[in-house]
């Protein structure tokens, strides 16, 4: 195979006029940068970067919406979520931020919509033990001392990064519109295998399942499709695993 002859790279030859021209341009850029710096640095904490709405930060909790289904603690890949018994005998999540990897699977899996994402990413702890956040501290936002008077957005113009500063505080909550609900209702898929333990009726928070003993030794079980919210608690608790959530089709 014949080798191609190599080409020698030769630097451009500047004459005196070109040299003066480039030097003057460089001094001009330096002076411009000293007056109006064109850097990408955000001067935190006096200003903050505006985080996108899908930012995954500190997790907030609303106990009124929690159905204690344990889904968040089951799904957590880092085992950061533990369920603790609250004074009202219900189980609520606690988050250990020493373990949390901020995947927000818990928020995605929360069937009651009780967990909410925020854009807070700068919570400081004094030691590892303090990173364990009990339920009470998850209800309110953590105390933040805010010095920021403006927020910064990045924008790309002509292949160059520019900062766009806006006065005002960035709102740290994430307001996600509630997902379109598919109405689900609990149904029994194998009535003959029901042992009649009535655990479903006992756990139902909405009183949708009723069990009544009739004369003649039969137990009549009934799921009220109007009351059932499709939370799935009975499906989880059914000892024979014969309850199932089905799409509700109204006539």
């Amino acid at each position: 195979m014949k080798m191609k002859s190599m080409k020698k790279v030769v630097g451009p030859e500047y004459n005196l006029g070109d040299k003066i021209k480039t030097n003057v341009y460089a001094v001009g850029v330096a002076m411009q940068e000293s007056v109006y710096p064109h850097t990408a640095t955000v001067f935190y904490p006096r200003e903050r970067k505006k985080m996108p709405d899908n930012f995954r930060g500190f997790i907030l909790f609303d106990p009124d919406k929690c159905i204690s289904c344990f889904n968040c603690s089951f799904v957590c890949p880092a085992n950061a979520i533990r369920m603790k018994e609250a004074p009202n005998k219900r189980y609520y999540p606690t988050v250990d931020y020493g373990r949390c990897i901020f995947c927000h699977f818990c928020i995605d899996s929360c069937s009651g919509g009780a967990l909410k994402a925020t854009k807070i990413h700068d919570v400081a702890y004094k030691d590892m033990d303090a990173m364990f956040t009990p339920t009470e501290e998850m209800i309110e936002l953590p105390e933040i001392i805010r010095e920021d008077k403006k927020y910064v957005e990045y924008e790309i113009k002509e292949d160059d990064l520019h900062l766009k500063r806006t006065k005002g505080e960035d709102y740290l909550f994430v307001e996600v519109p509630p997902p379109k609900e598919i109405p689900m209702v609990s149904t029994c898929i194998d009535p003959d295998s029901c042992i009649g333990c009535r655990v479903c009726a006992e756990v139902c928070e909405h009183g949708a399942i009723s069990a009544s003993v009739e004369d003649g030794g039969t137990l009549r079980m009934k799921i009220d499709t109007d009351e059932c919210t499709g939370c799935g608690l009975c499906v989880k608790e059914c000892s024979m695993q014969i309850l199932m959530l089905n799409k509700l089709e109204r006539k």
């Binding site: 209702v185 609990s186 149904t187 029994c188 898929i189 194998d190 009535p191 003959d192 295998s193 029901c194 042992i195 009649g196 333990c197 009535r198 655990v199 003993v213 030794g217 039969t218 137990l219 009549r220 079980m221 009934k222 799921i223 009220d224 499709t225 000892s239 024979m240 695993q241 014969i242 199932m244 089905n246 799409k247 509700l248 089709e249």
Partner: protein, 352 residues
């Protein structure tokens, strides 16, 4: 209402509630009065498998701690208990085939043929998991879900244990997980428990595909047999095999040492439920296996139902085992011995 998943669901249904002999007591108290306290209980744990509350074993007896507050009074335990309305079964029953077999793939006493049956059933796709009783270092039983033949590399799964295993609570769990079906092994009382579950609840009828019974004269509580063997000088850390042959209990150690004693000596610690059991061959099983009736090294296999027949045909086709002749008449002595226990049932019922 049409279901999203293709499974029709119902929002109204009825459950038959069983009758209570003692009207003002809970069902568990009824069970306790009629079965547990009268020493009829075989400790098959069918009740514990179905109980949504907490029936469990305390000491040597089936019990329900805090039943006053925790019992849901659903009646499931009474519905499934094989001895609440006890219809003792005995004899050899009807069978399709009566053969002796020796597994080529697995080593062991009668366990090898049982393992062969379940593993072949997994391989032919009849079941997707088999329940095996294993043991820990102290010879207490533990249940294993075997889904791949490779899992049987755990050597403690083979071999007879002569203590009770919690097979049926594990079966309930397996029935929840299974896609194709479950296969289980058990003593005659466990087989009766499974049949009762299948009779009452369709979920077990559909998902328990293969029930292998074991020839059983009696069984021992873990605590009792452990204490007894320790008194005889058996070191559990070295024990590798227990066996009953020709009226002698033989415990073999890893260094080859054998501790032997007559079976009459252990009669005192035989579990009370076995005293009223008349079933030697697990009459209700799909196939039952035991050493009596065949030559040394072989196990007798009594094939009773169609699913077990298919498995045996599969083993024959693949040549996983040698087959030979077995003699039904050799079983007569033990069958009659157990049939003789019928008189205990009546006297117990009279005393209660």
């Amino acid at each position: 209402m049409a279901a999203a998943t293709g499974v029709a669901g119902q929002s109204e249904w009825e459950v038959a509630v069983p009758e209570k002999p003692l009207k003002d007591k809970t069902y568990f108290e009824n069970l306790k009065a009629k079965v547990i306290d009268t020493n009829l209980c075989s400790r098959c744990l069918t009740c514990a498998a179905i109980c949504p509350g907490g029936i469990t074993v305390v000491g040597n007896k089936v019990d329900f701690p805090d039943y006053e507050t925790k019992c849901l009074d659903c009646g499931a335990c009474v519905r499934v208990c094989p001895r609440f309305v006890y219809e003792p079964k005995s004899g050899l029953g009807d069978y399709i085939e009566f053969i002796a077999g020796r597994s080529k793939r697995f080593a062991g006493q009668d366990g090898a043929m049982v393992t062969e049956l379940l593993v072949s059933a997994i391989e032919m796709g009849m079941i997707d998991r088999g329940l095996f009783a294993g043991r820990d270092e102290k010879w207490a039983t533990e249940m294993f879900h075997v889904r791949e033949p490779e899992q049987l590399a755990i050597t403690t799964l083979g071999g007879t244990k002569y203590t009770f295993a919690d097979v049926l609570p594990a079966l309930k769990e397996a029935v929840g997980f299974t896609k194709r079906g479950v296969g289980i092994v058990g003593t005659p009382c466990i087989v009766s428990g499974v049949r009762k579950l299948q009779q009452e609840y369709p979920i077990f009828r559909e998902r328990v595909k293969l029930v292998v019974g074991l020839f059983c004269t009696e069984n021992f509580h873990y605590g009792d047999i452990g204490k007894f063997l320790q008194e005889k000088g058996v070191d559990f850390s070295k024990l590798i095999k227990t066996d009953i042959t020709k009226g002698k209990f033989i415990a073999t150690m890893s260094d080859g040492e054998k501790v032997k004693f007559k079976i009459k000596e252990v009669e005192e610690i035989v579990a009370s439920g076995c005293g009223v059991c008349t079933d030697f061959t697990a009459v209700e099983s799909d196939a039952s296996v035991g050493s009596v009736g065949s030559e040394k090294g072989f196990s007798t296999v009594v094939v009773r139902e169609e699913p077990a027949k298919k498995v045996i045909d599969f083993i024959k086709e693949k040549e996983h085992a040698d087959f030979g002749e077995a003699k039904p008449e050799e079983l007569d002595y033990l069958i009659n011995l157990k049939k003789g226990r019928e008189k205990n049932i009546n006297s117990d019922a009279a005393s209660s």
